[in-house]
């Protein structure tokens, strides 16, 4: 049987693929990767489950793509903030505040991106995106070192430490175990406290002078 792939058909395929990804992101934002089942997603999109597999070979491949596009948005937002005018310390502070606020306002998604147990394909992406974040901090730390604002010997290592500290600070308060602890009567932190403590931790860690905090 001859099979003619017209341009219109390719456009329709592309549009459907994007709609699938948008619906998938909605699911992950609401219930994490655990809520991203092929069956439920196909229902959301209004197609047969089999059609999903025409676009994504596996749940892992789909989850990795959702992860990458959501994470890229965060990397881009942080990059814009870190490249604002101002001192390096000020930009680090404001970058952290913005990052924490964004995570806070999409807690379920932030936890899904940072720490939810999930397919190895997503873990692979996590490693790549942690490198992308580290690259941003490397640039900022080098600037701050040149200007004398930061005291850092190994810029790459300090950047990795920042990435880890930020992720873990946010996984803590955002994670289901943390929510369970709060339900059991442990005190909950507010965004303002988390953000302020994270900023202090990070600025001190890179040797920013007290006056620039």
């Amino acid at each position: 049987m001859a099979y003619r792939t017209t341009e219109a058909r390719l456009d329709r395929d592309q549009a459907l693929r994007e709609r699938i990804l948008a619906c998938a992101l909605q699911r992950v934002s609401a219930g994490g990767f655990a809520a991203l089942t092929m069956q439920a997603l196909a229902d959301d999109v209004g197609i047969a489950t089999g059609s999903l597999y025409r676009h994504f070979r596996s749940k892992g491949e789909l989850a990795a793509e959702v992860f990458a596009s959501a994470s890229q948005r965060e990397v881009d937002a942080l990059a814009v903030q870190l490249r604002q005018p101002g001192s390096a310390a000020q930009r680090l502070r404001e970058g952290l505040q913005q990052f924490a606020a964004r995570a806070w306002h999409s807690r379920r998604l932030a936890f899904a991106l940072i720490a939810e147990p999930v397919e190895p394909e997503v873990d692979e992406q996590r490693l790549l995106y942690r490198e992308a974040y580290a690259e941003l901090f490397i640039d900022l730390l080098e600037e701050g070192r040149r200007s004398g604002e930061f005291q850092v010997d190994q810029v790459g290592l300090a950047a990795a430490c920042l990435v880890g500290a930020i992720a873990e600070a946010l996984v803590g308060p955002l994670s289901p175990p943390a929510r369970a602890a709060r339900a059991a009567g442990h005190p909950s932190l507010e965004l303002a406290q988390v953000s302020a403590s994270l900023v202090t931790f990070c600025l001190r860690a890179v040797g920013a002078k007290e006056s620039t905090r």
Copy 2:
């Protein structure tokens, strides 16, 4: 058919289970969780693959158990170090140095435990063990705060930041991507540099006085 479970049989089962776990840990130490296939493991142990499944329902369950026992060893070693006599800053410094050195000397295993993309069952364990590490740091930070050595508002948050910073500092230099970067001509860090930079980052971050570094 009657089936008599004698004590001798239970002992044999337990001994075999432990041998399986020991062989599995050896595999992960040499090649990460990627090297832990049921087939290869059964060959190592000298049993049929089907027999493995009598002891572990799935590869994920087995991997999670290997992870937990290897991680518990690290948590215990760190706990001993952090509870030595001495000032809180000194114990934090020595705990970090020991942790980095242990990771450095078992790099493949350390990367497997901290960051290798792997089954969700292992990711679940990772979250639990990160909490176990955080608990150790919470105790130390509270001591250091009482003694005036550390300046930390939110002890739980700072502890989480430390856990994240340490993990990421070690994933960096230990990770396959980092090794690839080195192979491509980027400079490699030595244990002494990583350890010293990590100690400086963490002590500063918790507000330890310069003189105690």
